[in-house]
Amino acid sequence: MAIEVRIPTILRTYTNGEKSVEASGSTLSDLIEDLEAKHPGLKDRLIENGDLRRFVNLYVNDEDVRFTGGLGTGLSDGDQVVVLPAVAGGSRD
């Protein structure tokens, strides 16, 4: 089951510079395990304490997974996953 995963610039050090990679899994959680097996180190940049990192956005077919079941979001062959770091900041220290 092939799912295309779009990798942001800042994480391409884990994918030999590739903008997108293929992975498989029936849930987002499985997909991330498969990504980690192929590109060690990537999981830690996406997950913290068993949940999605606060300032990383993951989308499945253009839906933010925070609204579709988080790491339990189901996946099917041909789905498109996009990883985008949040663009955030501010004067608050």
């Binding site: 996009v82 985008l84 949040a86 663009v87 501010g90 004067s91 608050r92």
Partner: protein, 163 residues
């Protein structure tokens, strides 16, 4: 060094003044690899806060998909500080995630929503390291490094300000 047109600088400053006292945020997209900011995209500050900004997650995806379709990248990522200087905070540094971008900060603390000069400064933020860079403002994008003989792209919404 960041090189941008007066029209783009004006658009960023106008956005910052309009949204004061909340922080304003956005991107200036440009051709991939060109280091040439061309298209100002104002973003919603989903945090709606005077001390924090975050691009709305749906708008963020739409922005990136549009940039990918156009072979663009975020040349400038800008936001305002409304009560402090135009220097990256620890939060800004910790969350900076586009190592190739110019991070522009505008401070509206002096004049708020009113006319008047603002601090407008630019930085690279890579692996937690901040480096301030010179800001060069040109009259038109033709002066901004377009090779001779090629038509200049002028795709911001302010095209005639320098005429």
């Amino acid at each position: 060094m960041l090189t941008l047109t007066q029209a783009i600088r004006d658009a960023i400053v106008a956005h910052a003044k309009r949204d004061h006292p909340d922080e304003a945020c956005g991107v200036v997209a440009g051709p991939e690899g060109g280091d040439r900011p061309e298209r100002v995209v104002e973003m919603i500050n989903a945090a709606g806060s005077p001390t924090f900004y975050e691009f709305d997650s749906g708008e963020l995806l739409a922005l990136y998909k549009q940039m990918w379709a156009n072979d663009e990248e975020p040349v400038v990522i800008y936001h305002s500080h409304t009560a402090t200087e135009a220097y990256p905070s620890r939060t800004d540094i910790g969350l900076a995630s586009e190592p190739g971008a110019h991070y522009v900060l505008v401070s509206t603390r002096e004049h708020g929503n009113s006319e008047g000069p603002v601090e407008f400064r630019s930085y690279s933020i890579i692996d937690g390291e901040v480096t301030e860079e010179e800001v060069r403002v040109t009259d038109t994008s033709t002066d901004a490094g377009t090779p001779a003989g090629e038509p200049a792209h002028q795709s911001t919404q302010h095209t005639n300000e320098s005429e």
